[in-house]
Subunit: 200 residues, 2 copies
């Protein structure tokens, strides 16, 4: 059975639980305590030298790190990843963009606010919020033209970007001025098999 090393605090981990729920896969869920350093033990570092969650362990014992690589692995051959090579590249385009441009800012702001007691009066939070706003504006323009990130189809590009975008408020970022993103968030929550980030 698939084994997911997981944390309820991480938007990157939630991406995987969401896709696994929509695929209807059974899996074993192992929660690690990020704040207590449980991803820094020798046992975990042997599985992922980067010491990060999520991590997917296959029946063979092989481990796959990086949330978006896990999404890619699980979505192959399913409706959540296109067969068409150009559409597939566009899905990955948004997933790389998320890891380079959106996630560092959103996850960074959330981490500072939730775990380090910072507020939006703090310069480090403001810097991340400003960069996140630029990235969100790019998504807003795109989603004002298209229902999903790649054409008219819900894919792992949507799951990937949804992971942190839908909890932007945890980083004291409001989505009030992003109506297309708000509509997209509602469309995702209405997908068959959807599970919320807080679901057990």
């Amino acid at each position: 059975m698939l084994r997911l090393y997981d944390s309820p605090l991480s938007g990157n981990c939630y991406k995987i639980r969401l896709l696994l729920a929509q695929l209807g896969h059974q899996y074993e869920r192992l929660e690690l305590d990020l704040l207590a350093g449980e991803t820094r033990t020798p046992a975990f570092l042997a599985k992922n030298p980067h010491g990060r969650l999520p991590l997917l362990e296959l029946d063979s014992g092989v481990c796959i790190a990086e949330s978006n690589a896990i999404l890619y692995y699980l979505a192959q051959g399913t409706q959540y990843f296109p067969d068409d090579p150009v559409a597939a590249a566009q899905v990955l385009r948004w997933m790389f963009w998320e890891q380079n441009t959106l996630e560092p800012q959103l996850a960074g702001a959330i981490s500072l606010v939730k775990f380090h007691g910072k507020t939006n009066r703090d310069e480090m939070v403001q810097e991340r919020q400003e960069r996140a706003e630029k990235a969100l504006m790019l998504m807003e323009v795109h989603l004002s033209m298209w229902p999903y990130m790649v054409g008219d189809r819900y894919t792992i590009a949507d799951i990937c970007l949804y992971g942190y975008t839908h909890i932007a408020h945890q980083g004291e970022l409001s989505l009030a001025s992003y109506p297309a993103i708000q509509d997209w968030i509602e469309r995702i929550a209405a997908q068959p098999g959807y599970r919320s980030m807080g679901a057990d």
Copy 2:
């Protein structure tokens, strides 16, 4: 014919030229002047709203952004991307890791040194160098066990990580304490069809 919107200054652009050379593809190369704002014109933003290079334009007029998504698109069905689903996921694992963890630090340090006149006495440069060193150490450990990033085969994971790693010195980072990375850099430069970053 494929059209590559390109810059000689960018390690992300070089990744694409390297793979295109190894695939033996003909393509049209359009150099944009990053420092003169040529990626911020309305004409270019219509092709890539993110205003970044590289950008690959297909015969159909469809544009693919994000260097690693372009690598993925071009490498499908070739020796540079594995058919095996687990190996494919591992290739993408390193490519997502590059965009999230390595590239922001290396490209950031290089940009500060080359284009903003900073040195390693500057705190912003030091911060990026320190984070880059942690990422490089992870690669070093991996490459002391394996000849390439994914098993015994040269793939787009190697091209992706090579893009900025081999020019780390431009960010005043030395690879002297990373012998496995140095050997890997030599193995890559010996690949059939290799072209250097500065090649015309």
